[in-house]
Amino acid sequence: MRHTIAVLVKDLPGVLARVASLFTRRGFNIESLAVGHTEETGISRMTIIVEGDERVLEQITKQLNKLIDIIRVKDIFPQNSVERELALIKVNTASLLIRSEVMQTVDIFRAKVIDVNSQIITIETTGTEDKVNALIELLRPFGLEEIVRTGKIALSRGSKDISTSKKQDE
C-alpha cells in the first residue's frame, strides 16, 4: 500500500540523513519527499510518500518517532486530507500549430505558462498527483523537454493538525 507520511522535524543539519537512513535500512524506496519550513521557526515539515508492507511501515514510523530531532510523525490518509503537487514542464513548441494546441491543453488544466521563447514553453501546474500525471501524459506527444516535480505535500482536513506543541504520547 502507498502511504503519505508527514514528519515534523527540527530544522538541523543531518536530520534528513537520519530519516532517509531508516527507510533505506528496511529496503523502502522513498517515492517522493518534500521538505519546507512550517508556521513555527526552526521546525520543518517533510511529506514522504512510500510504498510498502503495513507492519514494516509501522515499525519505521516508530523508529522515526525515536529520533531526537523528530517532533512528530503522522500517517496521512487521502480520504481526510488535501494534497497537492507542483510541476514545471518544458514542452518543445517549435511549430506554431503545436503551440496553440499546447496552450489549449494548459487552459483546460488551469495550468499556467510561465516562460516562453521561440522553441520552448514552460508550464506550471499544481494539483493532485493524478492531475499532474494527466497533464504530462497529454503533453508528452508534443515532445517533453524537461520535467520537475516537487513531490506531494499534504495536510489533514479541518481542524485536525499535527502541531508541534502536542507530541503524541502513545
Binding site: G14, A17, S21, K66, I68, I71
Partner: protein
C-alpha cells in the same frame, strides 16, 4: 564567566558528576586534553586502543548505572570507537563519546585525520552532535547526557571541532533540558495495566521473561516483589542475568539458544508470557513462527518501537518497568494453582544443565568453582563465544549488574576492557573477567592499561586454541571442516603479561584451579590466569539456528 569550548566541556562533565574518562588523545582533541591535564576531580584512563576506551566506558556504565564517558581524536581515533558505540547501542548502555574533529573551516575537505564520524555513527547512536558553535556547547553536552541515560538508554556522540575547543564564550549551564522531540513515556497506560492484571489472574501456566530493561530501569526490588507475590517462574535473557536471584526456586536461569532446557520447555508450554524489558530477539525465540504458540503475550518496555517489532503482542505496555511493576504489584495476587509449578519443577529435575565432569579442566567446572569461592559483590565480565555461554550457564547470578557481557552485538574482545571499566566504577567489588583466547587477543593491548593503573581484576582465559564457538558450529553444521578457527601461534600468555610487568598463573590441571583462583583474588592487583581447557568442549544445550526453542541438542533426560 568567559571560557573556552574545552573548558566548557570539562565544566559540564563536572556538573554531570563524571569521575572517570577513558580515552586516547590526538591532534584534533589536544585543547580538551590540555584542560583535563590540570583537572583533579576527573580521572582519565589512557587505554591503548580507542576500542578499549569505548568498551571500558561501557563496562563502567553497566557496573555503576551511570553514564560512561570516552574520548578519542578525529579520524582513526573516532573510527576506532565505532565498534564500542555499536556495542553500547545494541545493549542500550548509556555512553557519551567525545571525538575531536578538524577545525570547522576544514570540515568536508578530506583534511588530515578527518572523517564524518557523526555520519558514520548515525545508525549506531541514540543521537549525535557536531558542535559547530561554542555557544551551543553547554546545551549539547547537557542534552547528550540526558538523552544517554533517560528513556531507553544508549550512546550519544559529540563531534568537537578543534577551533570550537579553543573559541571562547560566556559559560552558562542551562537550567533544564528542553527537547520537544524527545519525551519518553514513563508511566504505563492504566487500562493496559489492568488488562495485564486480568490476564495474569486468568493464566494457568504463566512465565516471566525478563531482560536488560529490568536492569537499566533499576527495577530489581519491584521484580522480586512481583515474582514472590505472584509465584510465577522467571527466566531471563543473557542481558537480564542477575535481575532476579538465580538461587531462588522460581528462577529458571537463562532461556534461548544456549539457555537451560527447562527454561525453553517452560516457555514453550506457557499460556502467558510476561516480557519485561526484552526484545524477542532471534537468539531467544528461535524459529519465530513456532515461539510460544500456546501463550498470550504481555510486553512491557520503555521503547514503543520494540512492541510488536518481532512478535505480535496481546497486551503491550509502554513505560518504565520499575513504575509499571510497582503498579502491577498493587493488584496482583499469589497464584494458587500449583500444578504449573510442579510441571516446571519436573522440567528442572529431568533436564538439568550438565556436563561430563571428568578429571579434565572443564570450562563449566571453572565457572562452578568461581561460583563457589566468589563472595557477594563480585562482577563477572565476559567477552563473546563459548566461554560467555558457560559463564552464563554455570555461575549463579544473584545481584543486578553482577554479569556484564556483550549481548546484542556479540563483540569479541569486549570483556577485558569492559572489566577494567567495571572495576574503575566499582573499586570495592571483585571483578573477574572470563575470556576465550580468541577474544582476549582482540584487545590484549589493554594489559598495559590494567598494570599501569593497577586495576585489580582477575582475568581468566579459557584457552582452547580455537575460535571455539565458530569451531563448534563447524563441527555441527560444516562436517568438522575447521576453516580458519585454529589459533596456531597464540603467545605464551603468562610471559606476555609478565612482559608488561603483571602477574600470570597457568592452570593445566583441575586441581591447580582452586589455589590459583584463591591467590589471584587475594592479591590486590591485575592477575591473569591462563586455563588450558579441553580443546573441543561444546556448549550445550543448543537450539540450532532456525529451530524452535523446544528442540534442543545436547539435552538428555535424567
Amino acid at each position: 564567566m568567559r571560557l573556552t569550548g574545552a573548558q566548557i566541556v570539562v565544566e559540564c562533565l563536572k556538573k554531570e558528576d563524571v569521575k572517570v574518562i577513558f580515552g586516547i588523545p590526538g591532534g584534533a582533541i589536544m585543547p580538551l586534553y590540555d584542560v583535563l591535564y590540570s583537572e583533579t576531580s576527573i580521572k582519565h584512563i589512557l587505554t591503548r586502543h580507542e576500542q578499549g576506551a569505548a568498551h571500558a566506558a561501557d563496562g563502567y556504565a553497566r557496573a555503576t548505572g551511570k553514564v560512561g564517558v570516552c574520548m578519542a581524536t578525529s579520524g582513526p581515533g573516532a573510527t576506532n570507537l565505532v565498534t564500542g558505540l555499536a556495542n553500547a547501542h545494541l545493549d542500550s548502555i548509556p555512553l557519551v563519546a567525545f571525538t575531536g574533529q578538524v577545525p570547522t573551516s576544514l570540515i568536508g575537505t578530506d583534511a588530515f585525520q578527518e572523517v564524518d564520524i557523526s555520519g558514520i555513527t548515525l545508525p549506531i547512536t541514540k543521537n549525535s552532535y557536531v558542535a559547530r558553535d561554542v555557544k551551543d556547547l553547554a546545551r549539547i553536552v547537557q542534552e547528550a547526557f540526558y538523552i544517554a541515560r533517560t528513556g531507553r538508554p544508549g550512546p550519544v556522540l559529540i563531534d568537537f571541532p578543534k577551533d570550537i575547543q579553543l573559541a571562547q564564550t560566556e559559560f552558562k549551564y542551562p537550567k533544564k533540558v528542553y527537547l520537544n522531540g524527545y519525551k519518553p513515556t514513563f508511566s504505563g497506560n492504566v487500562k493496559q495495566i489492568k488488562a495485564a492484571v486480568q490476564e495474569i489472574k486468568n493464566a494457568k501456566r504463566p512465565i516471566i521473561y525478563a531482560g536488560g530493561g529490568v536492569i537499566s530501569s533499576n527495577a530489581f526490588p519491584e521484580l522480586k516483589d512481583f515474582v514472590l507475590k505472584t509465584n510465577i517462574p522467571i527466566t531471563t535473557t543473557l542481558m537480564g542475568l542477575g535481575c532476579f536471584p538465580e538461587t531462588h526456586p522460581l528462577s529458571l536461569g537463562m532461556l534461548g539458544m544456549h539457555g537451560t532446557a527447562y527454561a525453553n520447555y517452560a516457555v514453550s508450554a506457557a499460556d502467558l508470557i510476561i516480557g519485561l524489558g526484552v526484545r524477542f530477539d532471534d537468539r531467544i525465540t528461535g524459529k519465530l513462527d513456532e515461539f510460544a504458540l500456546k501463550a498470550k503475550i504481555i510486553h512491557i518496555d520503555i521503547d514503543p518501537a520494540e512492541v510488536g517489532k518481532n512478535i505480535l503482542v496481546d497486551i503491550p505496555i509502554v513505560g518504565d518497568i520499575k513504575n509499571i511493576l510497582k503498579k502491577l504489584n498493587e493488584y496482583v495476587h499469589k497464584k494458587k494453582e500449583t500444578e504449573w509449578l510442579k510441571i516446571v519443577e519436573d522440567f528442572k529435575r529431568k533436564y538439568p544443565l550438565k556436563y561430563n565432569n571428568n578429571e579434565e579442566l572443564k570450562p563449566q567446572y571453572i565457572m562452578e568453582t568461581i561460583n563457589k569461592i566468589s563472595k557477594d559483590n563480585t562482577i563477572i565480565v565476559t567477552s563473546v563465544g563459548q566461554h560467555q555461554m558457560w559463564a552464563a550457564q554455570y555461575y549463579q547470578y544473584t545481584e543486578p549488574r553482577s554479569f556484564i557481557s556483550s549481548g546484542g552485538l556479540g563483540t569479541m574482545g569486549y570483556g577485558f576492557p569492559a572489566a577494567l571499566g567495571a572495576k574503575m566504577g566499582c573499586p570495592e567489588k571483585k571483578v573477574i573477567c572470563i575470556s576465550g583466547d580468541g577474544s582476549f587477543q582482540m584487545n590484549q593491548q589493554e594489559i598495559a592499561t590494567a598494570v599501569k593503573n593497577n586495576i585489580a581484576i582477575t582475568m581468566i582465559i579459557m584457552n582452547n586454541g580455537y575460535l571455539g564457538m565458530v569451531r563448534q558450529w563447524q563441527e555441527l553444521f560444516f562436517n568438522k571442516r575447521y576453516a580458519e578457527t585454529t589459533l596456531n601461534g597464540n603467545p605464551d600468555f603468562i610471559k606476555l603479561v609478565e612482559a608488561y610487568g603483571g602477574t600470570g598463573i597457568r592452570v593445566n590441571k583441575k586441581q591447580e584451579l582452586y589455589p590459583a583462583l584463591e591467590k589471584a583474588l587475594s592479591l590486590d592487583k591485575f592477575v591473569l590466569i591462563d586455563c588450558l581447557i579441553p580443546k573441543e568442549e561444546n556448549v550445550f544445550p543448543m537450539v540450532n539456528p532456525g529451530s524452535p526453542i523446544s528442540k534442543m541438542i545436547g539435552v538428555d533426560k535424567l
